[in-house]
Structure formats: C-alpha cells, structure tokens
Symmetry: C2
C-alpha cells in the first residue's frame, strides 16, 4: 500500500517556485506524500519502488470548473457570445440528460477521458436532472477520481425542459439529491446555482440554507460576460456587485468556487478575498466565447485564491496544460491591449494555479510536500524529441505548451493507482 | 499512379464555404485532383480505390511561416518580447547550426514531425549557414514534402556568430547557395532577409537583384512588434511604412510572404494588396511573445492574400489546426479589447487561410477543385468520441480545436503518398 516512485519529479512549492529534480524519489505513505528525496531515506528502503525512468512526475492537477454535460459539443459552436451560446448550444445539449441512457453514454466518455488526463480532482457541473447526476457521480467514484459534482439549480430564464417549476420544488429536489449522494466515498455534492440570471431570489435563499445545513461547498459563475453582467444588474439593482448577490444568500464562502471573474472590479475582488472565494480562471473559454481575459495578476496581488478551469465546453479540452498555456498567452494579450502595467503570468504561476491553487479546494492537494494527498501523474514526454539535453524544468515548461505530444503513463489519487 | 480515395471529404471552396460530404470519392489523375464525387463517374471506375472508411479527408495545409532552426526550443522561453526574445532564445540556438552534426540531428526531428502533421507545403526559415540549409533541403526533398526554404540573410544587429561580414560577401554566399539548390526537384530556395533591423540597405539591394535574376520568391517579417517597428522607423526614417523598405528593393512582390503584419496600418495594407504580398498570420506566436493580434478581418476585407503560419518557435507547435483555433480566438479577443466592429474570424475563413489561402503561394494548392495539385490528408478522429452522431462539417470544426485527439493516417503530396 505504501510505495516509492522514482523519476524526474516536478513539485509545486509556491507561486514563485517549481522544484524540478532529475531522478528523485517520491514516497507515498498512507495515501499521503512523505516527501521528495534525492537519496531514499533508510526508513523507506523496504518499500516497493517503481522506477519511472526518465518520465516526469508531477502533482495531480485540479480542474476547478468543467461542465461534464457539455462534453459532447466540445470544440463546436463557438461563434456566439455567452447568453446566445447558452441558448444555442448548452441548454439543448443539457436537456438531453433527461434521458438516462443518453446521460450514461455521454458521461462514460467524459469520465474515461478525464481519467486519462492529468486531472485528479475536479469541480463539475452536471445538469438539473437528479438520476443523470447520480449516474455521473457513480462513474467518477468507480474511476477513483475525487470530485465535487453539482446538480444544477435553475428556476428562471432558461428553457422549460431545464427549468424547475418553483423554488420550493427545486430546493426539495436538491435536498433529496444531497441525501442520495451521501453513499459516495470520494465524490461529494456541491451546491450549484447555475448563475444569478437563472436563479430566483427564493431559490438562492433556499440553496444558502441547504449549504449551511449540510456544510457543503458551492460553485457558480461570476462576471463572465458584459451582457450577462448588465442582465444581473437589472435583476439585482441594489447589489454592490454581481458577487454580492451570492454573498447575500450565504453562498460566497471559503469553500466556494466562482468561474470566470473576467470583469470583476475592485469591490468584487475584495469581496472574494475577504470571503476566501476561489476564482476559477478559464482562459480558453473566455477567448472562445469572446468574454475577455480575467485580471488574474490583480487577483494574485490582492490575495484572492485562484485555480484553473478547462470549462468544457466553453473550453474545448479537458487538458489543463492547455489551460496553463492559454492563461499565459491571454495574460500577455490583456497587458498588450489594455496597456496596464500588470505583468503577464509566468510558468511557475500557472503551474501553481493548476496544481496547488485549485487543489486547495480539496484540502492539502497539488504538491508533494509531506502530508499532502498523494496525487501524482507520470508523464512520458520522449516523443517530444530534442537535439540537445533539456533540464527537467525546461521539459515541464515545454509540456505545458505541447502536452498533446506526451503520454500519460500512470495516475495516482490519494495513493491509489487509478490509471496506467 | 492514378487512384481514388473514399471517405468523408471536406473541401475548401472559398472563404465562405466548406464542402463537407459523407463518403464521397476523391480522384487523383496525374498528381492532380480530378474532383470530388458522391458517385464515382464511369470514367474513373477502373482506378484503384482506397476506402478510408469514416475518416476525414482534407486538402493538405500550407504553413506560410516556420523556423526549422528554432524547433529545438519550441514551447520554451516565452517570457520575453520580440527583440529580447531573439537575443535570448533564437540567435543562440541558430548559432548551433554552424555545426553540421547538430543541424543534421535537429533537422531530422523537424522534418519527421512535419511529415507526420497535416502540412504538405511550407515556407521555411533555416539559418545563415549554407551547409546546414542544404541539409534541411535534402531531408525535405527526401520526405516528399514541397517547401520553399530560406537561407537567412543578415548583416547587422545580430551576434557575430550569425552576422555576415558585409553585404557583398553575404550576397555572394547567397548566390552560391541558390545555385547549389538547383538540384532539388520539390524544394526551392526563397530569398530570406531576416527583417529590416538585421539587413543593411546594401544587402537588401543585392537580395532584390538576386530575386530578379533568379525569379525567386521572398519571405521576411513585417510589423510584428511595437519595439521592432520603432527600430525600423529609426533605421529607415524616410520610408512611408515598414513594408515600403522591402518594396524599395523589389522584395515586395506577388510571390512574397510577410510574417505577422500585426501592426500594419492602412498604407501598409494597401501596399500589400497592390503588390499581391501574402500575409502569414501567426496568432500563437503573436500571443506567446506578446506582439498583439493582426487585423486579419481588415486584410480580408481589403483583398490582401492571407495564410497561416505556425511560426515555430515563437509558436510552439507545427499543428496548423492549432493555428486555426488560435486565429479564431485571437480575433475575438482583438474585437473585445479594441471595441472595433471587425467581426471575429469564422471556421470557414481559418480553414481557407490554412488550405487555399496559404496554398496559393505554391500555385493551385489547398483544394480538391479539379486541376489543383493532389495534396490530401486522411485523418482518423474516432478517438474523439461522441454520444450522438456529428455531421462531417461538425467533425471538421471539432478537429480544429481538438486535433491532438485525432490521428493522421495518410498524407499525399501532388499525388504521391508520403506518409501512412
């Protein structure tokens, strides 16, 4: 049960530092990391050791925002902006999940692809449908992944097929689902108001009550698109900012993830910081549906917790290396176009966001520091050939841009091998 | 020698239209396309037919701008802007190509990866070194690819190891290389002044003379970065625009490719249009090294010829599907940040740019229209699973975003199978 991996270990220390080592030992004891060592300490000498050769070993990554129910149209339909995109692409696809057979086939593909990625933890949107959402949770549990899964709450501003009849019914259905979810060991429910335009005040109030009653985390969308923000302003004219609407109902907490935050201003940023809310930065989606680029440098400077989201299917891929590369690129384009002095994001920072930054939503996750959950991904990048030797640090940077040329050999979640 | 392929054919008709067909026949006669047919015409019934099943078949793509000599550091060193990036990353790597052994190893990797991509034609920068450049040309010729390869001319503003001693020597070396290149059948030389800051007026004048004497195409860089443009303004204060410097020496012609054009204004755009110059749009590079986003919509509206470049190693990947997806995304971010009314690029437009738009640099290339060179790529996208059937047009769009999930099965260049 306890074991050692040997390989080229890249650990995430903090926002400024990657610890990259040639041929180091990584020790797992009781499902937790016991640390990274250049020479194996005597006390671990009796443990079975798997030599991963020249492969890279990195902490498991956390996808802070992904719609499992939109995976079927990944890479499609990006010619619209958010509110039209929801009506044309997202809602029609999500309506199919009333059919459990369809949900079963679609979620099979999603979970298998997630399993083969570098992601070990995820905050996932399902749909409004309880049976389909439970089916997704079963599949994730069986795959050995750790996830927070949200049955989506919505009772206004959406097609009848996805709209709950009233706040009371919606809250009753939600509570029933929460109770039925208690059987899962590694997959937990997360309160998921879709976003303010789709949730009445009455529903938000009830979701806040359920959050408190069951001590649950929360996920939703925040300040993604200018049209959406205008709509929220008309729906909640008294709120100081979009985020204040969630806060009013107790949904803006230290275990809340808010996706996007592209247009969050000073007041909203301060509210996120003071409550401990996680911002899920989703750069590919924000480009694909023309929302803009989130002011991540300002979040980091302000002390807001930040992780990365693939945001499938506003984003096209589950690959968080792609999200890292897009985060760097988009920060550069933001600086170029706005003329602001905000420094672009660096490799260390985006690696931190994908590993430790998002991992914090799940506890001590996203690093090989002793005591952290042993989430590890073994990656063979030999197909990315080079005419000269590269350092381990260089290979990690290259992987961020060229992950499709590498191969995930094995994946461990809290010490259990789930793939490879 | 003549043959038929059967599969899901996606043809590039023009900027507005993709002809996507289920299970069509694609006929090759004498190395050229004889057209796409739902039912095979009687006159082709005797030809051998390869059934590609449900695979997609698309025209070969043209990479209008790529630095073969920078491939070793793809995905690395993106934390700088152009002029610093050249000094820190590009020039030190290019200096290694004085060693023919290194060049051999590096170009082997480049050519093998290019062969396995969807690219059938490319405009390629090598280095200032004649033996290494000839070695690259040999490898491309042997691989069956068609390419325009440039020995890079530079005689100022660069490290001594890459700087030619004077314009006269540089022009003599260039002419000697042109003559030695005449043995190749499918790979041709292209006059390649690196960019204005690296080429004296005397060298530019001589390169213009060689272009005329040998009727050669031209490639260079144009208006990529604000610091570079400022430098050009100081070096050529009398020029109406950056492009006018090339034009003054007869290097701005109907067989000239100019990479980037990120900051080309109205005068430069009109000069490009009137001369028939190709703009090589390199969106990934322009994001990676923070240059900005080229005004491609304006180029298209003005009638400027536009293709796509991977621009390795400012860009990280040879994959032109990635370039297409980045072109769409970056056009959206440009529109978002500038507030200009320029419509973002659509799938049809970026497919056109990668196929027919860039292909025009090589003649009738980039379409299955009868009479075009038979460049075709067979792609198995079965690993991109879907719970519901997708149309061929949808599969092509998805491929643009998720090419790394698909597999290139076979590739044909001018009727010859070069891979698969």
């Amino acid at each position: 049960m306890d074991f050692v991996l040997r390989g080229c270990v890249c650990d995430c220390i903090d926002k400024e530092r990657i610890d990259a080592r040639e041929r180091a030992y990584l020790v797992c004891v009781g499902g937790k990391s016991a640390g990274v060592f250049d020479t194996l300490p005597e006390r671990f000498a009796g443990l079975p050791c798997t030599d991963c050769g020249g492969s890279l070993i990195i902490p498991g990554l956390t996808d802070l925002h992904v719609h499992a129910s939109q995976y079927a149209f990944r890479g499609l339909g990006g010619d619209l902006q958010l509110l039209d995109w929801l009506n044309a692409n997202a809602f029609p696809e999500e309506a199919r999940f009333a059919d459990l057979g369809y949900a079963d086939a679609a979620y099979d593909i999603f979970v298998q692809d997630l399993l083969r990625s570098a992601t070990t933890r995820a905050c996932i949107f399902a749909t409004v449908h309880t049976p389909a959402t439970l089916r997704l949770m079963e599949k994730l549990e069986k795959a050995g992944l750790r996830a927070l899964v949200g049955r989506v709450s919505m009772d206004r501003g959406c097609p009848p097929s996805l709209c709950e009849s009233d706040a009371e019914t919606a809250a009753r259905d939600e509570e029933e689902w929460i109770i039925r979810s208690s059987d899962f060991k590694n997959v937990r429910p997360i309160i998921t108001p879709r976003f303010v335009p789709a949730c009445s005040d009455a529903l938000m109030r009830r979701l806040g009550g359920l959050r408190e009653k069951y001590s649950l985390p929360v996920q939703s969308h925040l300040s993604e698109n200018l049209g959406e923000i205008e709509l929220v302003r008309s729906l909640a004219p008294d709120a100081e900012c979009y985020g204040a609407v969630y806060d009013k109902y107790g949904l803006f907490t230290g275990s809340t993830v808010m996706a996007h935050c592209v247009h969050s201003g000073a007041a909203e940023t301060e509210l996120m910081r003071s409550r401990g809310v996680f911002a899920a930065h989703c750069p590919e989606c924000n480009a694909n549906i023309a929302s803009g680029v989130a002011p991540v440098r300002r979040f980091l400077n302000a002390g807001v917790r930040v992780g990365l989201g693939s945001d499938v299917a506003g984003g096209s891929t589950l690959c968080l290396f792609t999200a890292m590369a897009m985060a760097v690129r988009c920060s550069k384009l933001r600086a170029h176009f706005t003329g602001e002095a905000d420094a672009p994001l660096k490799t260390e920072e985006v690696f931190y966001m994908a590993a430790r930054g998002g991992g914090e939503m799940f506890g001590k996750v996203g690093s090989f520091e002793a005591g952290f959950d042993f989430d590890a991904v073994v990656i063979d990048d030999a197909a990315l050939r080079s005419p000269r030797p590269l350092t381990v640090r260089e290979r990690l940077e290259r992987l961020i841009y060229l992950a499709d040329g590498a191969r995930i050999k094995a994946k461990y979640v809290a010490g259990a091998k789930v793939f490879g």
